[in-house]
Amino acid sequence: MTKLSALFALRCMLREMERDVGLQDLSPTELDVFLAAHSVSDQGRDGVTSAEIRHHELVIDLAQATYHRALRSLLELGLLERADGFKTRRYVVRSDLSS
């Protein structure tokens, strides 16, 4: 056991606490995708497709893989949710964040 490993374990534990209390910080790419999804959702539709978010000016220049990784991460974090009742895959910004 070293002092550094104890400090590292403490930081990991408190990072998990940060996530659990909702203070998780997004990467710049995730933030751009989230803002793009929020902006497109604001246009008054029930959920948006990945292609619609993808064409937003904030994310249009991102590499395809980077974009999808960020989208997946936002879904895992619960900031975006899959919209129910559609044949194609559509996404909505979590209801308490979209108002």
Binding site: L10, L14, M17
Partner: protein, 203 residues
């Protein structure tokens, strides 16, 4: 080989000494914050229990986190922290501090987190740092809560001769709440400090 052994021994002992100093200093700092900020505010609303227990007792966070890292080895450092803090923050009460009740209170407070970790270990949940159980902030708060209950019962019994019977349960509950809130605030403060360091390092 002797040279390597000497260096290893020296490294271990200097590591322990540093840990001892960090834990004692953290305890003194947290008790200072409690004495100078929490106690005066609490005295305004609950003067009758303030002399015995604090509604936010930050040193409990140090007890739990230090015991998580160092196990039983944290106990002497916690005792030293309590003794130093008593002399620093209550210099006029030097002789009073030597009364058996206060001395028992210091000793008991220092072992409560260790008792809680050991109780949890009995149900095969070894939360000590470096052992199988993954460190979890929720687990730490559960252990802190157990330690706060153990502490509140013990401290109230230690001071039972000085506490009015009608305030007994109230003080017991205040001890438990104060310790737990202290631990949560301590962890939240560390979380914010680490977050601030991380975000500033990025920018």
């Amino acid at each position: 080989m002797d040279c390597i052994g000497d260096r290893l021994r020296s490294s271990i002992s200097s590591g322990h000494l540093m840990g001892f100093i960090i834990v004692s200093a953290a305890y003194v700092l947290c008790l200072g914050l409690t004495v100078f900020f929490v106690t005066p505010a609490q005295r305004q609303v609950l003067p009758e229990i303030t002399v015995f227990a604090s509604l936010i007792y930050l040193p409990h966070g140090v007890r739990v986190l230090a015991t998580w890292v160092y196990g039983w080895k944290a106990i002497p450092a916690l005792i030293a922290g309590s003794v130093i803090a008593a002399f620093v923050f209550f210099p006029d009460a030097k002789l009073e501090f030597l009364t058996p009740a206060l001395f028992a209170s210091v000793l008991y407070g220092a072992v409560t987190a260790y008792i809680a970790f050991e109780l949890v270990r009995l149900i095969h949940r070894d939360y000590y740092f470096g052992n199988a159980q993954k460190p979890s902030w929720k687990g730490m708060i559960v252990i802190g809560a157990i330690a706060s209950i153990i502490n509140s019962i013990g401290q109230t019994l230690i001071f039972s001769g000085l506490i009015d019977l009608d305030k007994f349960v109230f003080i017991l509950v205040t001890y438990a709440i104060g310790d737990l809130v202290g631990l949560i605030l301590c962890m939240a403060a560390l979380m914010i400090i680490f977050r601030w360091i991380r975000l500033n390092a990025k920018s």
